[in-house]
């Protein structure tokens, strides 16, 4: 799992690290949106210029990012091969039964590979430079407009931040339970599928029971500390939209406009 950098946070102090999580999330969405509009070499070139600008500003090494793509390699190869063999249109180079390699098929396969790379790399940059907590804050802030339709934004935000806070705690606990069950003779991860599924039971049941007890305790502690319904609360953490966020947004919007001008 150590190689799997997709979705992890690496502490740092770059331009992108210090950006507001809201702008980072919005810009990532905007970038993915842009990718789907790119349809010729020039526009893909532009997309990758923007991507490399982001990588540079985040001070992440390209090699490190590419290594992080490894676990997704099979998915990419699979998708590209399907495009190569089932793509239609243009000059036919090779064909056998329903499989054929055509000029247009090859080009669309190449474009799909580029899309994959760009999307995964940009979202990896987002998670590498943003703490889970900041992402939770960002989601809360971005969902605020939904309050108009009585969507419980505060409740969702609290649930999200509690869930994130308890991920490592529950991981530790799962590990402890596994070790305890191993000490009592449970053999995890061996035998046939049926056997393996059975061994999960002595892990899952205590984990769930503990989670219930924990939830009860936390609810009591929150009550005792004056938490009522999430309304009329002030916030300790604050998201500040800085100049760097405005500048980054301008660059993205500008490249978006150029993309629309140069696409076919």
């Amino acid at each position: 799992m150590d190689k799997f950098i997709f979705g992890r946070y690496i502490p740092g102090d770059s331009w992108v690290h210090r950006m507001d999580p809201r702008s980072k999330m919005l810009l990532s969405f905007f970038f993915i949106f842009m990718i789907f509009f790119a349809n010729n070499l020039l526009s893909y070139g532009l997309v990758f210029v923007v991507l490399f600008l982001a990588i540079m500003m985040a001070r992440v090494s390209v090699g490190f990012l590419l290594k992080g793509l490894k676990p997704l390699l099979w998915l990419m190869v699979f998708t590209v091969l399907i495009q190569v063999f089932f793509g239609a249109g243009g000059e036919v180079y090779w064909s056998w039964w329903t499989l054929q390699i055509t000029h247009d098929g090859l080009i669309s396969a190449a474009f799909i590979l580029l899309r994959f790379l760009a999307i995964i790399m940009m979202s990896t940059i987002l998670t590498l430079t943003t703490k889970p907590l900041q992402i939770a804050d960002g989601v809360e802030s971005l969902l605020k407009p939904l309050k108009v339709i009585h969507f419980p934004v505060e409740t969702l935000a609290l649930m999200l931040s509690l869930a994130l806070r308890f991920v490592p705690t529950l991981m530790d606990e799962a590990q402890k339970i596994m070790d305890a069950q191993r000490a009592r003779g449970v053999d995890f991860g061996s035998g046939g599928i049926k056997q393996q599924v059975k061994t999960v039971v002595p892990l899952l049941i205590p984990l769930f029971m503990n989670a219930f007890n924990r939830a009860e305790d936390i609810a009591t502690a929150m009550d005792a500390r004056g938490y009522r319904d999430g309304k009329n609360r002030t916030k300790y953490r604050e998201l500040i939209w800085q100049r760097r966020d405005t500048i980054s947004s301008l660059i993205f919007v500008l490249s978006g406009i150029i993309l629309f001008l140069i696409r076919n």
Partner: protein, 259 residues
């Protein structure tokens, strides 16, 4: 019925220890005082106000509770967030909140840990953060519901030292619920509760003299008293009254010199 016919007063600025073995109803008592549980009968009065569902939140504002499990009361994602939680709930303005969080962390000796996450802290440190969260809301009453029972001896001493310091500085009223007899020795008054009833009440010295009764109730006796009992079994004449460790040491020195 967990509690039955329990009646007592707590004076302002007092440190009251409520002692009892597991299942004696002492945690229920803590939750009743804070209005987290509703009593089937009887009355609870806080500062001349009867505790009712209407004034519950108002009275709770003055009471800080520290629970037993350090992990299960850590709500915030980081130390500073957790200390701020109670203040956020009370709608404290942001600048004031920042000031109070920083202050509270200094008071419990956890300054410099603001951005740390709960998984990177020890049990004692987490309990100190919980205490900081309580101090930040400036309560008049602090209830410790077995707050030291999951800590190692060092963590326990540290927490008790911090509480004593804070109590003296802010004239807090402390109600500590415990089965740790050494913790009860810090108190100015001890209540012993057994099967939902108060069976004994008095100053720690007076309570600790009733060694046989304490042992019968499934409670421990202080170290000095245990030593005294062992000496007594060896046929050595020991004083009747309770001696703390220092007094015990003095007495031992004197009786050795006499021989």
């Amino acid at each position: 019925m967990v509690l039955d016919g329990v009646s007592f007063d707590v004076q302002e600025g007092e440190w009251l220890a409520i002692v009892g073995h597991n299942g004696s109803g002492k945690s229920t008592l803590a939750k009743l005082i804070d209005g987290l549980l509703e009593a089937a009968g009887g009355e609870i009065t806080i500062e001349d106000q009867l505790l009712t569902p209407d004034n519950l939140w108002e009275l709770r504002d003055d009471i800080g509770l520290v629970f037993q499990n350090p992990d299960n009361q850590f709500v915030g994602a980081t130390v500073a967030d957790d200390v701020a939680f109670g203040l956020e709930n009370r709608g404290v303005e942001r600048n004031e909140m920042k000031r109070r969080v920083a202050e509270a962390l200094v008071q419990v000796g956890m300054d410099g840990f603001e951005e740390r996450e709960p998984t990177s802290l020890s049990g004692g440190q987490k309990q100190r953060v919980a205490l900081a969260g309580v101090i930040a809301i400036r309560p008049r009453v602090v209830i410790l519901d077995e707050a030291t029972s999951m800590l190692d001896p060092e963590g326990r001493r540290e927490i008790l030292r911090v509480i004593r310091e804070l109590k003296d500085r802010f004239q807090l009223t402390v109600i500590s619920i415990t089965h740790d007899i050494e913790e009860a020795a810090h108190a100015s008054r001890v209540l012993i509760i057994n099967d939902g009833r108060i069976v004994e009440e008095g100053q720690p010295e007076a309570i600790f003299e009733k060694e046989a009764e304490l042992l019968e109730l499934g409670l421990d006796i202080p170290y000095a008293s245990r030593l005294k009992r062992s000496l007594n079994q060896l046929g050595i004449q020991v004083p009747e009254q309770y001696l703390n460790e220092e007094e015990m040491a003095n007495w031992l020195c004197q009786s050795l010199l006499k021989k």
